[in-house]
Symmetry: C2
Subunit: 175 residues, 2 copies
């Protein structure tokens, strides 16, 4: 669609194709099965189904970070700020300190990776918690927006099940 | 906690106990297995994991209604308004017309049922679509807030896996 928008609401973020998303979760669990993951961290809303499916196959809990508009943040939360490319604003992201700590080895999961701003926010939260970042698993990466390669160049393992190299109003080219 | 707030973020709406929630979904699928459900409808955010788990066992797609702050709503969406007891405001709820139609037999799923305002909004959307309401499945009903019995008195099948009859700062009594 115009403006580099990829319409995925028919299976990923409004109507959920449950068996397809379970398959995405199973594939992610295979990719990271040797990494001793203790928890999955994602961000509401559309990362939740894939993270939940992966959590099922990996047998680990899923924590989802919450988006918050404004206002005070209680000090039992880690928090960071994320710039939204889609909405042109900045929002707060919070995770209760109860659910991530220095013993955790964390797999980040999200549905989309474009500029990587949401992932960088979650990486900041993992760092605040003193936890280990085991890697990032993504359903669809917009490779041409550079966020994935920026993270890979920082030494982070980023696994995207599909990487779109180029998109126009009526074609997609995959890496 | 004070103010009739039940803290469930350790398994239901911040950190997800995936196997427990898969069990909730399996139980819901058993309760409605003879009802020829074609789709599950829930509302973001915390209804999604249970609805996803039930969708897996029932082998049907899950549609999640989106909450919207303000602004114009395109006419390819059903929309309704819901009053929030927890937040003391009103918000718009939308579902794309693409995903629900008159042929659907729909199971509503949500994590909580208190006054029933969110469910009534989703029932309004089902009615706009001309779809059939097969029933409602809920993880935790606050029975003392009356929403569940109000819906049952309207002839709607409401199945709650736990109904809290009374709660104080340190005790829960189940129905």
């Amino acid at each position: 669609m115009p403006g580099n928008i990829l319409k995925v609401d028919c299976f990923l973020n409004h109507c959920l194709d449950v068996e397809f998303l379970m398959g995405v979760g199973r594939e992610i669990s295979e990719l990271f099965k040797d990494r001793h993951i203790s928890k999955i961290l994602t961000i509401e809303t559309s990362g939740i189904p894939i993270a939940f499916a992966a959590g099922h196959y990996m047998n680990v809990p899923v924590v989802f970070a919450k988006k918050k508009k404004t206002g005070n943040i209680a000090d039992n939360f880690y928090h960071t700020q994320v710039a939204s490319y889609t909405h042109g604003n900045t929002y707060d992201v919070i995770v209760s300190k109860e659910f991530i700590n220095g013993d955790d080895s964390i797999l980040l999961i999200d549905d989309f990776l474009a500029k990587g701003n949401a992932l960088k926010g979650l990486i900041d939260i993992i760092s605040q918690a003193g936890a280990t970042l085991a890697g990032c698993a993504i359903a669809i990466e917009k490779g041409f927006q550079g966020g994935g390669d920026e993270l890979r160049n920082m030494g982070i393992r980023v696994e995207s099940l599909a990487i779109i190299e180029e998109m126009s109003d009526n074609t997609l080219r995959f890496r």
